[in-house]
Subunit: 243 residues, 4 copies
């Protein structure tokens, strides 16, 4: 039985996490904290194994330090960490012999899609990314699409294609990052989708992820809570806990 | 039994058409012509009902006149007609009481896709077009994608979406024609695909056409040969023969 | 300004309908009724133009009669009507010169999908249906899939395919209705999807509808309320209001 | 420069392989054999590094022995090997310190799809397989679909779904192998497609492979020829050469 505290328990993600932990027989929920609570104190009094931090990006680094220093494993769901901050936390986790995770994306499906895209790019180097979100999304392409393009680019040898790419209308061939084309669709009726489309000699391979609702992140948080307690290093990215 | 001549019988499309007409029991192939043949003479000597013209764009208009004047129904598979030329041929067909078709695209699947896209746009005005072709295709977007955007734009009331469309990378949101976004993918392993993607309140509708090989045009040529002999007007676009 | 009553206003669909009508400037919500209310009385006192009935199947026929007799246009969202009941209501609507709709499905996307499937089947008679729902759905195939198979079968000439269909494992080739194959997928993460897949000579056409949430029905209810007041006949099926 | 012999060079696959090897600057084609040729003799006289065997299933085992005994690496593209035959060849390859491959499927895209399906099943255990082929395919489901179901079943913990699966029409829910559902579509306009569809909490993941033409196998044969010369073991399945 893993004892879990949710920090940021009253936010939208936090409430979902509380519900998930209460319903999973592998966990006992020993605390629900909000920003102003003394987190170190709650960890010590409850003897918690894991703290899931779903607060705000600016608090993530400090919270991770508090959690490790109090002897629990951090599962941090905020983005915006600097490289040096991750290294400092990895050093601290190592000295304390504690596992931990910092994850900008808790969707297991999205993480698998990125992992498979990188693997496929070794053998099928010609790829394009099509992502679709609701019109409310402010920026294009999505962070996941940009990250996928980086992974494809690192994994593959140079694409074999010599593009002519004459555009009759500007933008037809999409955006480009590291010679990977990205296309962003914005339509109502969509929450978040991404397709990675590979083309080879007389064959194509598509990897397509579709999210209906933020509760899809719960499966990743659940996996993380089970994994960090078995480890003694802190990792960055849910993909590091997936093999 | 419909008597058919194929003009341009030695080209790639012409050879496929000859094969199709020979195998369809509704037709008798009464002539295979090439550019230098006297088409009017062949029509008269064979008493042909229909001439399928698969020569070159520059010859289409003159051939259509020859065919109508010789008393047969033209099925013209070349593009590049001017509006006035179409009107002249319609006048000539009317005076001769002959049916005819000028069709830049003989794919029934593609024509149905465009027709459905226009119908859907009345009720689901928010739409984007994604087309995919082999890297050999020289220009983006495809002619079919541009035509589809025009049809959507004509059919719908104004799109309900106020786009923010902030692009972190240029071109992410694609090209735009009449406020319809178009995205062009170029990958090996694809001949010709197009998806029209509609989004509404908590629902999406996709219409997707996929071509494997130019023989897909034969179904449209076959339909056209059967329809023009029943009619006494010349129409532009295979969609005019489909209800 | 169309004056609308929602009958069954406290059910899940009813609450969504109330919200939609309150937010659409074409409508005034003049009444929210539940089963025990005197519907005829409310219609007369509010001088309502339209009554949206979202109660239970068993009440649909009686409610439609009450609504027509009270001088309003019924929009009935329940299934299970017998053919004779529909005919009786059409007769009553005609005598009263009132428009009306009985619709087992208010999703405009689903109705368009079925309409397009019937149109495509005339030209591409070989088709299979793949529908996907959540594992909670009790029966396979879905009602929409069965209805689509009927529409395809009525619209097409005989399929050109001679199937071998040797199954190494029972059920591999799916269910069959009127020589149309149907395949039902049940997976978490899906609300309701249907793909109608057409195959022709070297080409395929797919029509795919995806529902995220029951609020997708509101667009159809909204369309119905606007259309019935312009008409003086009662029709069965939302597709009758779409052209 | 790798010296390659194609055995079965006059068959449909063999001719494609000859063409591919002639056009790839990593290879020299040193022999084109047919069944009646003395393969051992040709290997010795040309000092070949690799023999690609694309003859018939019944000859595969004997050919592999001849190739290994003559000192070359076999790349065998036939199916129907018994487990003991594979073990015997692995023993022989080991004693000769030669690499080799027996592969029932040379499509890299299909092999990646199966590999990803097995990986995904660990985290998203609920999956169904939909495969589509031309109506000429005699048996359902396809061999690739059956193999994929086995891989999913081996990789995952038990599916979390309690299916009701009440079929209104027999076969609606497809075939079942190791609690994985399989659905086979047969339509013109399709060569070979397979989708592996995973569903999780409010998310789905699809892996979709599409083959246009048998030349898609050439990429796998090319990879195999480059890999076997670096190795000193014989493996079964192209996936063993992919990491």
């Amino acid at each position: 039985m893993i004892k879990v505290i949710v920090n940021g328990a009253k936010g939208r993600m936090g409430r979902e996490a509380v519900k998930m932990i209460q319903h999973d027989t592998n966990f006992t929920l020993v605390g629900e904290c909000v920003l102003k609570d003394d987190l170190a104190q709650v960890i010590k009094s409850t003897n918690a194994d894991v703290v899931v931090d779903l607060t705000v990006a600016s608090a993530g680094f400090e919270n991770a330090k508090i959690i490790l220093n109090a002897g629990a494993c951090p599962v941090i769901g905020t983005s915006g960490f600097q490289l040096q901050q991750v290294k400092d936390l990895q050093q601290l986790a190592k000295s304390r012999q504690l596992g931990g995770l910092i994850a900008p994306n808790f969707s297991i499906g999205a993480v698998l899609m990125m992992k498979f895209a990188a693997q496929a790019a070794k053998y099928l180097p010609d790829a394009e990314i099509i992502e679709a979100h609701s019109p409310q999304k402010e920026e294009s392409p999505s962070g996941t699409a940009l990250r996928t393009a980086e992974l494809i680019s690192s994994a593959r040898n140079k694409s074999t294609m010599a593009y002519s790419d004459k555009e009759l209308l500007n933008g037809a061939r999409g955006a480009e990052l590291h010679h990977v084309k990205l296309h962003s669709i914005r339509l109502p009726g969509i929450v978040a989708q991404q397709t990675v489309f590979f083309g080879g000699l007389s064959e194509t391979l598509k990897i397509e992820h579709n999210t209906l609702h933020r509760e899809s992140f719960m499966l990743g948080i659940c996996l993380a809570c089970k994994e960090v307690v078995k480890r003694n290093t802190l990792v960055y990215g849910l993909e590091e806990l997936i093999n």
